[in-house]
């Protein structure tokens, strides 16, 4: 039996029955990581993982966890964490030269929650620098390769988190999603990724990119696992004022009678014919099971990409101002304070990060603010209204995740705008603060294609329940 093929639920059962130990499981994953050439991990936290595995085994031997608590589903299960989320005492680089040697001084709230469950942390995964990118190629430490075709990208920005799960280098992982960064790599790598509702999961300890958009979420081997992890990390946290008191309600919503909205604006020119076919096929399968398919219109989504690529860089230009060579990270010598700032940022940030800081600074600068930032905020309001109207008529929205399957490494790196266009179906969800899931529903040759399921605010239960029905239809 290959232990790295087990889902969370299966591994949990095996640990409970004593078929294998968490140390066995952890070693199996560590072995896979060592042999891998995907570049999905930036650092492997072997010592931490093995000590956590030993603790988990002790808990299973006793029959209860720390402080006499019931053993959780994630106890002893090895996971990988995007290297933009702080794990105390471990490096956290955000895949940037500017944080190459930064050691996290505390645990992010999601890490605290995983540790309380007895999770095993295998290491920190590769990403586009500061989570800015759709392909994974903007990492200062090299691109993550797609496990299904190593000449292609894994998708970004949570590139390593998706590739690791797809290739059995972790049982599940955490990613973050500002404009598609969980859903896009999940689609490209053929795994299941959930971008939760804005406010459902605390971002405390996530290196901030676009604070009105950022959300942490799970990447897993199947829908059930994604749900297990989501339940473990969600909820109110006093360290993140935007987090809400949210209790996940178990639900069993099947396809029969379900009203599925399909936005007509999402099937126009620019979408790969095969991607369209696979997406429509999975919608058809839902219809055959009794779902009602309703064509809907989201008239403002044509502006979503432009809106996103103003708002996200504006927020990034403010958030990244903190990397100034004083408090942490790379610090270049200079003749005065300004010189230290200029050189540290100039040498520490990569090309895409600089580009976004420049766009954001430009759009917020005097004379341009109204035309760009203010206008984008108004358009954001329209996009939110479009979705609100749609959800008066439908339960969920089905659409593609990306207009294309995984692209070749280097294919779009020379043209930033063409790279941004890969995010065309994902950014609206972040602008509207909605939950969205990507699940594998087909393949073009070796390359997986994901279906995106969007729900209304805090309706992750509906998304996950329906997704698990779709999953059964496909297998």
């Amino acid at each position: 039996m290959d232990l790295t093929e087990l889902t969370i639920k299966q591994a949990h059962e095996g640990l409970k029955k004593g078929d294998f130990t968490s140390v066995d499981l952890t070693k199996a994953y560590l072995e896979k990581i060592k042999k891998s050439d995907l570049n999905s991990f930036l650092s492997v936290t072997e010592d931490l993982a093995l000590s956590q595995a030993e603790e988990a085994d002790a808990a299973f031997a006793k029959g209860y966890g720390a402080q006499g608590k019931k053993i959780g589903m994630l106890c002893g299960i090895p996971c990988a964490i995007k290297d933009a989320i702080l794990v105390e005492g471990q490096k956290c680089t955000a895949a940037s030269k500017i944080l190459e040697n930064y050691i996290a001084p505390y645990d992010a709230t999601v890490i605290k929650k995983l540790k309380e469950q007895g999770a095993v942390i295998l290491g920190k995964t590769n990403l586009d620098e500061f989570a800015m990118g759709g392909s994974g190629e903007n990492s200062a430490f090299g691109p993550t390769k797609n496990p299904h075709d190593k000449t292609r990208v894994a998708g970004g920005s949570s590139s390593g988190s998706a590739a690791a799960v797809a290739s059995g280098e972790a049982c599940y992982s955490l990613g973050s999603d500002t404009g598609g960064s969980i859903r896009l790599p999940s689609s490209f790598c053929g795994v299941t990724g959930l971008k939760p509702t804005y406010g459902a999961v605390s971002r405390y300890g996530l290196i901030a990119f676009g604070s009105s958009l950022d959300q942490i979420g799970p990447i897993a081997k199947n829908v059930e696992d994604a749900e297990i992890v989501f339940k473990a990390i969600s909820g109110k946290d006093k360290m993140d004022a935007t987090s809400t008191d949210y209790k996940f309600e178990e639900s069993n919503i099947s396809l029969k009678g379900l009203k599925i909205g399909v936005p007509k604006e999402y099937f126009v020119e620019g979408i790969d014919k095969e991607v369209e076919k696979i997406t429509r096929n999975s919608i058809k399968k839902a219809e055959n099971q009794g779902a009602k398919i309703i064509e809907i219109s989201l008239p403002s989504v044509e502006f979503a990409l432009a809106c996103y690529y103003i708002i996200a860089p504006c927020e990034a230009s403010a958030n990244l101002a903190r990397f100034d060579g004083i408090k942490y990270g790379l610090s270049e010598k200079g003749k005065d304070l300004l010189d230290v700032y200029l050189k540290s940022k100039g040498h520490g940030f990569g090309a895409e990060v600089k580009r976004r800081i420049m766009i954001g600074t430009y759009a917020l600068s005097s004379g341009y603010y109204d035309a760009y930032y203010k206008k984008a905020q108004e358009v954001r309001q329209l996009i939110k209204q479009d979705f609100a109207k749609a959800f008066e008529k439908v339960d969920l929205i089905f659409c593609p995740v990306s207009p294309v399957p995984a692209i070749k490494i280097g294919e779009r790196t020379g043209d930033p705008l063409s790279m941004y266009l890969m995010d065309i179906y994902t950014v609206s969800v972040n602008l509207a603060g909605l939950p969205g899931l990507s699940m594998p529903v087909g393949k073009i040759g070796d390359l997986p294609v994901g279906l995106q399921i969007i729900g209304n605010h805090f309706q992750e239960n509906k998304i996950l329940s329906v997704a698990s029905y779709i999953e059964k239809l496909l297998t």
Binding site: K345, K384, G433
Partner: protein
Amino acid sequence: MISKEEVQHIAKLARLELTENEVEKMQKDLSAILDYFNLLKKAPSPAKILQEQNFGGQARKDEILPRDASLAEKIIAAAPDKKDDYIKVKTVF
């Protein structure tokens, strides 16, 4: 096309040192991206413009939350230049 001087001005506001090559590349990239943003001119304005877009969540009370003293040490330890419990900063002028 956005001018070289404009790129240099924005870079200075952003506290970014750019090389000659980077300035040239930035002129090209920013111009293409800003052109794309022109699409927004076609977008209507909302009937009622909200000043704030509330996503739920609320600011916490302005109060001191107890934290472990060792956290301060770890945070200072991360600073590139320090003396005792202080972070050193270059002179402003």
